[in-house]
Structures are given as structure tokens and as C-alpha cells.
């Protein structure tokens, strides 16, 4: 254990954050202000997500951290170690075994269950921000459900690119009321926002928490003649052969060679263990070395 209080934050702070979380769950999609604390990491590294995780973790939890789908990047490893040290919780890379998952920019491919919580790191929680700089005005727009401006953004996309070019942080309407930024997940993940697990969003610098309760209706905004389409690279994973997962593209040499592989590393590894092999992949056993 450590000399820190359980999960780093003091109990009063965690209570304050839990109150914000409960309010967020009660008003799906509504941005609840909270008194964000200084954390021992810079803004932009997931301070909002870490505070939310700290407030929901219990000693019995199993914690998983993913960064752009991967469990083994610096950011994911640091945050996982942080809670290992300050909360002493068990950690895992397997989606199915985790009870709390903190994520940056992805939703796992494997569907979450109703006993799981996913915590998103959010850089800018306000979906209207890029068109309306005034916070006073955007709050009023949320309060009065004036969301025409959100469509102006999509209109601009189509007029400039011929199609809705917004590929991540694609705005959604939650339970027919609040328009929400789902954090910078690829729009491929948007349909997964309707799920069995509890979804919590934390923005540390912007001091906002919001939430989507299980089984909540989440609709991606679109036009009648330009309907929402979740997109991914038109390819199958070169390692595990999965045709339906979100892919990263990797340049492998300087003569145009490239490969596509699952961005969700746990999903890919699990499939390969099951014997699936992609076009450029090798059977799992040989790869282990």
C-alpha cells in the first residue's frame, strides 16, 4: 500500500466528485461542473478521467486503462501504475475481466456488461464551443435546447468536403435532450454509446463531468440526405483477420508497405489466441517470442 489516501484523492473530494457523477447520471448528457483538483500529471493526460476513476474505484475492483485502444502506451501504463500504487487495485488488460475501464479515444470492441464502468478522458466537453465561444451563451443554448448551431458544423463539413468529414468527437443527442461531445472517440464507436455499462466522462481542465446511464438512447446528429455513417478503413485486420474492428494503419517500410491492425490490442490478441490469423499475421504461438 502507500501513504496516500485510497486512490490518491481525499474522501471529501471523492464525495464531491461522486455527487457530480450522480447528478450527471440523473440528467444524461448534461455537463455538471465540479471542483477539479490538481493531479500529479499535466492537463491533457487524463486528469478528468483519473479523478472520476478515483471516485468510483473500490478495493475489489479490477482496473484497465486504454489509450487509443492500446493497453501498453506510456499514458495507459502510467495511469494503471498510478492506481496500482495509490489504490492497490488489481489491474488487467482483458476487457472482459475489468470492472472499471479508463479510456482515451476508444470504446473497446467487446460489448461491455452492466457490471462494468467506462470512464472517458475528455479534453473539451462543450460540443458547441468551436462555433460559439461564449460559455454563457452555450449554457443558455443547452438550457433552451437551441441546437441548430450543431448542424451548422455538419453543414460546413458537407459544403467543404462533400460529406460529413467529422471523424471523431462526433456530436450525439442523449435521450432526446442534451447534445453531447462523446470525447474524441472515432465516429465508428458512436453506435456503441448505447450500451449496458455505465459511461462517465471527466474533463479535468474544463472542470466538467457528464454521464450516460446504461441503455440510454444516443443518436448521432445528421441530415436526412446525409445520414450518419460509422466509418472505418475498408480492410480487415492484418494480424487477426477481424473484418469489423476499428483499424490503425501502420507504415512498415519506405516503399509504400503498410498494414492495418486492430486499434483495440486486447481484442486483437484475444482473437489471435483463438486461432484467427490475418493476411500478414503469424499464428499466435510463434509471435510470442
Amino acid at each position: 500500500m502507500s501513504d496516500y489516501n485510497f486512490a490518491y484523492l481525499d474522501e471529501q473530494t471523492k464525495r464531491m466528485i461522486r455527487r457530480a457523477i450522480l447528478k450527471g447520471l440523473a440528467i444524461p448528457g448534461y455537463q455538471v461542473p465540479f471542483a477539479s483538483r490538481e493531479m500529479p500529471m499535466p492537463y491533457g493526460w487524463g486528469t478528468g478521467g483519473v479523478q472520476v476513476s478515483a471516485a468510483v474505484l473500490t478495493p475489489d475492483d479490477t482496473f484497465k486503462v486504454i489509450d487509443q485502444g492500446a493497453d501498453d502506451t506510456t499514458n495507459a501504463v502510467s495511469i494503471r501504475r498510478f492506481f496500482q500504487k495509490t489504490a492497490g487495485v488489481a489491474v488487467t488488460e482483458a476487457t472482459s475481466q475489468a470492472s472499471v475501464i479508463q479510456t482515451r479515444h476508444r470504446i473497446p470492441e467487446e460489448a461491455l456488461r452492466d457490471d462494468q464502468i467506462i470512464v472517458y478522458q475528455v479534453p473539451i466537453p462543450e460540443p458547441l464551443r468551436f462555433l460559439e465561444p461564449s460559455e454563457v451563451e452555450t449554457r443558455k443554448m443547452h438550457a433552451l435546447e437551441e441546437y441548430g448551431l450543431m448542424h451548422v458544423k455538419l453543414y460546413e463539413d458537407i459544403s467543404q468536403h462533400g460529406d460529413i468529414a467529422t471523424a471523431y468527437a462526433y456530436p450525439v443527442k442523449v435521450e432526446g435532450r442534451y447534445v453531447m461531445d462523446p470525447s474524441p472517440i472515432p465516429k465508428f464507436d458512436n453506435p456503441k454509446l448505447e450500451m449496458s455499462g455505465i459511461q462517465l466522462f471527466g474533463a479535468g481542465r474544463e472542470q466538467r463531468i457528464y454521464a450516460i446511464p446504461p441503455y440510454t438512447k444516443v443518436v448521432s446528429l445528421d441530415f436526412d440526405d446525409y445520414p450518419f455513417q460509422p466509418t472505418k478503413a475498408d480492410h480487415a485486420c492484418d494480424l487477426c483477420g477481424a473484418p469489423d474492428s476499428y483499424l490503425d494503419e501502420l507504415i512498415v517500410d519506405d516503399v509504400g508497405g503498410r498494414m492495418f491492425m486492430c486499434s483495440d490490442t486486447d481484442y486483437c490478441a484475444t482473437r489471435r489466441k483463438q486461432g484467427h490469423v490475418g493476411a500478414q499475421g503469424m499464428p499466435y504461438e510463434e509471435d510470442a517470442a
Binding site: 433552451l144 437551441e146 441548430g148 448551431l149 448542424h151 451548422v152 453543414y155 460546413e156 459544403s159 441530415f223
Partner: protein, 256 residues
Amino acid sequence: MTPLLQVENIAKFYGARIGCTDVSFDLYPGEVMGIVGESGSGKSTLLNCLAGHMTPDRGAVRFDTRAEGLRDTITMSEPERRMLGRTDWAFVHQHARDGLRMNVSAGGNVGERLMAVNARHYGDIRAEAIDWLGRVEITEDRIDDRPTAFSGGMQQRLQIARNLVTRPRLVFMDEPTGGLDVSVQARLLDLLRGLVREMNLSAIIVTHDLAVVRLLADRLMVMKDGHVIETGLTDQVLDDPQHAYTQLLVSSVLQV
């Protein structure tokens, strides 16, 4: 005939200083009223009180709403008032950048009010935007340009298109030709005149330019120190002014 706008005894004070006081008038459908006066006469304060941008200290501003007839817009709820602001009302600012989204294309600027009232078909919105840009003499090939790439006169015309696209019934204009070159002014005035006639718009135009009201306004209200000192038919007030200040105002205009 029901007035479109019924203004009763509006007053607004800034501490002990008078913004405007004792203003009452009726505006009927299709009427254009000019408000003239020098800087600080209270004409902009009055316009802001009428358009719901400012809450007057007393008085009533009743608007003939489509659903429920005359309603006091000062006591109605904010959502209702804002809804009026983007449907039946329009506001043309002196500086186009106050009324436009400068980082959004011309088409997006015109389409915003449509999308605000739940237009959700891109093709329809774009067709409507092209039609309106045409009406204000902006060619279709500029639809995807941002207003920052437009001249002052074009920006002002774009602002007008953006405002009129939802076919409002009442337009508030604050010095619509201020800061424009004279030749650009003439074109804008001509355009406004045509649109007002064609759409049977009612309008309230605040300006200090008597030529503007001569051309656009049916009626005139002259303000000084927060008070209305003279009202009447535009040509009558300009050609046969009764009040000392109005006479001074009219006689001070340089003849070309």
C-alpha cells in the same frame, strides 16, 4: 386592424441618466418606421429594448404572435422571446461582424436560422441559401466562402439574407448603411426597399442619416435626450418639421 407591434410607455434608465422614456407607438403590418436622432439621443437604447436585447424599466412591447395574438415580449419567457428572435423577428446590426458568424461559410450563415427551426435536409437548406444569396446579389459561387473574404457591402447583404431567410415579419435595423461607401449604400438601400415591399415587411430602422429614412421609412420618429420630440409621416416631418431640434436637424443636411 391589429398592430404588429404595440409599444406602450417604454422607459429605460442608466442610473439617474435617461436612456429613453415615455415612448409609445403602434406599428402596423407592412409599415417601416425610422428613428432618427444624434448619438446619445436614446435611439439605440430604444431599439435594444424593443428587440429584447435589453429589459426596459417600465412599459410594454406587445407583438402580434402567430399563435396567440398580442403578447408582451418583455414579460414572456426567455425561450419564447429567443424563439421570436430567430423566426418572426430579425435584427440587422450596423457592423456585419456582430450579426454574422465570421468563421462559417456564407451558406452556413444563411442556413443557420433554418437549421435553428429544425431544417434537417442539407440539399433543401443549400438550395434555400443559394436562392437568398441571389436575392441579395451575391453569386452562387461565393456560397462556400467565409464572410471574412467579403467586402463590407457584401457582408451587410449577407447579414440581410441570413436574417430574412425565415421570412420574419418584423425587422430591426441599427444603422444598416453606417460605415459603407456612398455607392455601396445606395445599392443596399435599393435592395432593402425592394425586399421590404416584396415581403410586406414591417421594419424599425435606427439611423442618423436622413436620406436613409427618406428612402425607406413611411413614418419617422425624432428623438432627443431620450424623449420622442416629433413623429409623423416621413416626408411631412422632413419637409415641414415642427420642433426646433428637427428643424435644426433637417436644415443641417448638406445639399449635394
